[in-house]
């Protein structure tokens, strides 16, 4: 729950026909109707069926979230809309590439923390690291907070990919 005034976060997965303009259609729906997008990812998931999956993290009142789902569902190229945060347990992960610049004790401390978070070092110079870290949004946020005083220089995050636990499919 997002807390105040009945707001909640929702992780919504949308299976779409992979046709030109579909992403613009989804994004335009959110901007045109004043809905929030906290994160959005999109990639083809089935080349043969020409389908792509869009994962959106949004927030709103229960009535607004239901509207978002209904509005997405009536787009012509949409096969299915799943509210993963309501339809049962699900897994959500994102990946970040995090550049930390520094020398001396701060550099050593950054590497120690990265090991504790199981972040991988994918690039290193004598004055910098690039860490690759995968996990839930909260884990990434926590890691970034720790890196900030240690020379956090740049962040690139993917946004979340999400899927339901168990045998359930979209």
């Amino acid at each position: 729950m997002a807390g105040d005034a009945g707001l909640r976060f929702a992780t919504i997965s949308v299976l779409v026909e992979n046709e030109p303009g579909i992403l613009a259609r989804v994004v335009g729906l959110f901007s045109g109707r004043g809905y929030n997008i906290d994160s959005l990812t999109v990639a083809p998931v089935d080349e043969a069926a020409r389908s792509s999956r869009i994962n959106i993290v949004t927030s709103g009142t229960e009535m607004v979230i239901e509207q978002i789902k209904a509005q997405l569902g009536r787009l012509v190229p949409v096969y299915r809309v799943a509210d993963l945060s309501r339809e049962g347990p699900h897994i959500a992960r994102e990946m970040a590439l995090i550049k930390v610049a520094g020398t001396g004790e701060k550099r050593a401390e950054a590497l120690r923390i990265a090991e504790a978070f199981r972040a991988r070092v994918v690039d290193a110079t004598t004055e910098s690291f690039i860490f690759e870290l995968t996990g839930g949004t909260e884990k990434l946020d926590a890691f970034l907070a720790l890196m900030r005083p240690l020379g956090l220089a740049e962040v690139s995050r993917t946004g979340i990919a999400a899927i339901a636990r168990g045998t359930r499919t979209i």
Partner: protein
Amino acid sequence: MTAASEQSGAEVLLRALKDQGVEVIFGYPGGAVLPIYDGLFHQNAIRHVLVRHEQGAVHAAEGYARSTGRVGVVLVTSGPGATNAVTGLVDALMDSIPIVCLTGQVPTHLIGNDAFQEADTTGITRPATKHNYLVKRPGDLARAVHEAFIVARSGRPGPVVIDLPKDIMIGKAPYSGPPENGHPSYRPRTEPDPAAIGRAVDLLKGARRPIIYTGGGVINSGEEAAALLRTLVRLTGFPCTSTLMGLGAIPASDPRFLGMLGMHGTYEANLAMHGCDVMLAIGARFDDRVTGRLDAFSPGSRKIHADIDPSSVNKNVPVEVPILGDAGRVLARLIEAYEADPRSPDRAALAEWWREIDGWRARESLSFAQDLAPGAVIKPQHAIRRLFEATRGVGKDVFVTTEVGQHQMWAAQHFGFEEPRHWMTSGGLGTMGYGLPAAIGVQVAHPDGLVIDIAGEASILMNIQEMSTVAQYRLPVKVFILNNQYMGMVRQWQELLHGGRYAESYMAALPDFVKLAESFHATGLRAESVEQLDEVIRAMLATEGPVIADIAVDPKENCFPMIPSGAAHNDMILSAATEDRAAGITDPGLVLV
């Protein structure tokens, strides 16, 4: 799907249109669509009606679609042709009118180069359409056209744009016939869930103060849905009200019809909505013109909402029983289930409810005072009443279109619609300039019908160029202007809400509408005072060709009853005598439109 020998893209396009049953296209040529016009020149199956502005083409197609139930087809060129069509597309989107709009586009190799008359048509029309296509490969052309028709007319109908680059129209393309299914991911639900029908009948059978509230969805579903609505109303004996879009589904003369509801609806319709205990909404979307203040909307009722669009349900008003499906199918299932249910409704409670409603009816909220002495100024309501009465005996199918504003509301209030698909008005978008081109589309579809555009002198000037289309095709459209020399609804709101400061709402420098009619090869008539009105109406109806009748009406008349913005249904202003209550409109109400 049958493959055939390759033809030009334009020929494939026209063949697909023909296979979709298209008989008429409303359009305007230009550079990017010349190959299509050349194709039209070489065939006789599809007729083309040349409008004078692309917005007019879309409204004409809307008039055609709404009066026939078929898909209206538009053909415009790239760039300004497409952007001029946008207002019409949004109008059709808001009112759920099936339109296929073909737009020309610069050749594929120039797309994105800021070429002459290039616009990002699919980008611009994405939020203006139900769906749109840019055909970039010849092999996609036929399928896109067939799919567009399926999308436009099925589910909740709406406008679909197909953007057609010029090289695709000139080059060869394969043809394929209409497919079994349309777009692979598009499967609108039309058949309602039996469990939802059961829960609805539970509520209906237990109702003591019921109301049926219907909208454009019943019209869109087809004549069958309107017939079923009449059956349901007869079967239950429940009172019935309608939105602006739904007028005609139930006859205006039916004693169970309470008239239109909403901002300018009748006192009895709005108070019945406010006081009901069970509301059955069918094909209506609880929009702000209907509900008034949301937190005071029908506070004591349990609500059943049947709609084909899941996003219309629980959007503005939470409902107990949502039913997803086509209005006609829902009505058919409701009637079956209602008749099969052994429980008998509470007849005594219903009779008491009707007594209460009759009390509200006795207030005669649509009444007005017309001085009949020669020389007296004409009340606009009186003009519409007299027009309505004069059209009843003409022995023709009577269709009415309107522009937008006071005249539109007075037409909705005072012209009785007995049948669906005979009333064409811009409801959701409120597009001034809708009525004349819409009347053209209606008249093209119904050459023997009597088609009247009830207009205001401000709105009619927004698409007055279409008089030239009227002249070219000798369409006997009658334009009935309620001329109060103001943008009447703007003036009314300025009077009620802005201290009578009439900023820019006075229509200075109006044309002489009689001469204007004559310059477009039509007949011009004018009524200055009440004793001239009936003669002008008689002369208008007796004229075979097009007519502009300029009716000078009371410039200060306001449209009542009225729910002021931000007020509740039970807080109506009934007449000028109670206007001072508008002074109590709160700031939250003032920001509403």
